[in-house]
């Protein structure tokens, strides 16, 4: 399971399907695609694993099934590497 890092405010701006996010815990700024932002918003609402996110976000992504779960798994590890989310 993954959750948004406690205290992360998700200060961000989005233009044309891409976003910049100010990580107010680290002071870094990240360039994200819109899908990553959707995942962060979803985890802010409720902790989840890749399979649960695939169901919750199915209508927002073109891919589905195992491919989507695998892609979300990679994305979750990448977001954890930026200290935006953590396992719980």
């Amino acid at each position: 399971m993954w959750r948004l890092t406690p205290g992360q405010a998700l200060v961000c701006r989005e233009w044309d399907g891409e976003a910049v996010l100010y990580n107010d815990l680290s002071g870094s700024t990240h360039l994200l695609d819109g899908a990553a932002l959707d995942v962060l918003y979803a985890l802010r609402d409720e902790p989840a694993d890749a399979a649960q996110l695939a169901i919750r976000l199915a209508d927002r992504f073109d891919a589905g099934g195992d491919d989507l779960v695998a892609a979300l798994g990679d994305m979750l590890y990448a977001l954890a590497g930026l200290d935006l989310i953590e396992s719980c």
Binding site: R13, W15, D16, E18, V20, Y22, L31
Partner: protein, 305 residues
């Protein structure tokens, strides 16, 4: 209004040798002292149109440029810089006193003026539209800037774009435009009207000369401008003209990388940059011909590019 140009040579020397010349550059006051004769002559030429403030009041930056003493005064003489009584930099050969003045005046702003988001970028205005030119050294940014100043553009800055966080306006701090190496002769050829300082050789950046800022730009230094475009220029010999839209989120990241104090301002810097990107079109721009570039920038100024 008292300007450097209205002072006699003797008055200017007396101020610089005494309590200091209080020079206004945009929102800043610089209290300058010096005993270097050719530096004083160059200040008289390049800053003739700048306002001089009364002495004895507050000054943002206290800058002191002194010639070596002792044996060094006569053998390989150097210029020593002091800021508010401290010496943050090594001395330079005496011939480099004027480039040192320009570099250290920039340094004061980029290291102290954190009331602004400061982008390492030239910024110009025409028809009320502010155009920001961020670029690394060697991209042709200053050459392009110096050329545009001969085509009705107003100089806000050649080096530092000051963004006012409260309202996103671009605040002018017009100062001489720094040219390097081959660019010096390029601008001499393209703008025979331009006033240039004497080239100084063998600096860490090669041969340096500065172009005097247009008088109108200095007189209008109190007029901020809203941003309209961010253009990342790149000079490429023989290349055709190419203006390519840059996605806004990527432009944001590029601009953040070009800021002097984005990290210092934290969330405030993020908000200011986001507001700037909101109101600006962003492009990459490749050029080799200055006349072609002038035409394209006219269209940018009119909002028809």
């Amino acid at each position: 209004m008292l300007t450097v140009g209205t002072l006699t040579s003797a008055e200017l020397r007396a101020r610089l040798a005494g309590d200091g010349l209080v020079l206004r550059t945009g929102p800043f006051t610089n209290l300058i002292r010096s005993d270097v004769p050719h530096l004083i002559d160059t200040v008289a030429l390049m800053y003739a149109d700048y306002p001089v403030e009364p002495g004895g009041g507050f000054a943002d930056f206290h800058l002191d440029y002194r010639r070596s003493r002792g044996l060094r005064r006569w053998f390989r003489s150097q210029v020593h810089f002091a800021y508010d009584g401290s010496t943050p930099f090594q001395p330079l050969p005496l011939a480099q006193a004027y480039p040192m003045l320009e570099w250290t005046m920039n340094w004061c702003v980029t290291h102290r003026a954190h009331g602004y988001l400061i982008i390492h970028a030239a910024v110009l205005e025409k028809h009320g539209r502010g155009i920001i030119l961020p670029a690394p050294p060697g991209s042709g940014k200053s050459t392009l800037t110096a050329a545009l100043l001969g085509h009705g553009w107003r100089l806000l800055s050649d080096e530092m774009t000051l963004v006012r966080p409260d309202d996103g306006m671009l605040v002018p701090v017009p100062r001489p435009v720094s040219l390097k190496n081959a660019s010096i002769d390029v601008i001499r050829g393209f703008r025979p009207d331009a006033v240039l300082s004497r080239p100084v050789e063998e600096t860490t950046k090669g041969t340096i000369a500065h172009v005097k800022a247009p008088r109108d730009s200095i007189l209008r230094a109190g007029e901020p401008v809203p941003p309209a475009c961010v253009v990342f220029p790149r000079y490429e010999a023989g290349a055709g003209l190419a203006l390519t839209p840059l996605p806004k989120a990527r432009a944001f990241m590029e601009l953040a990388d070009n800021c002097f104090n984005y990290q210092v301002l934290g969330a405030r810097g993020f908000a200011a940059l986001g507001q700037l990107i909101d109101t600006s079109d962003a492009y990459t721009f490749r050029y080799s011909s200055l006349p072609d570039a002038m035409d394209l920038f006219e269209r940018l100024a009119l909002g028809t590019a």
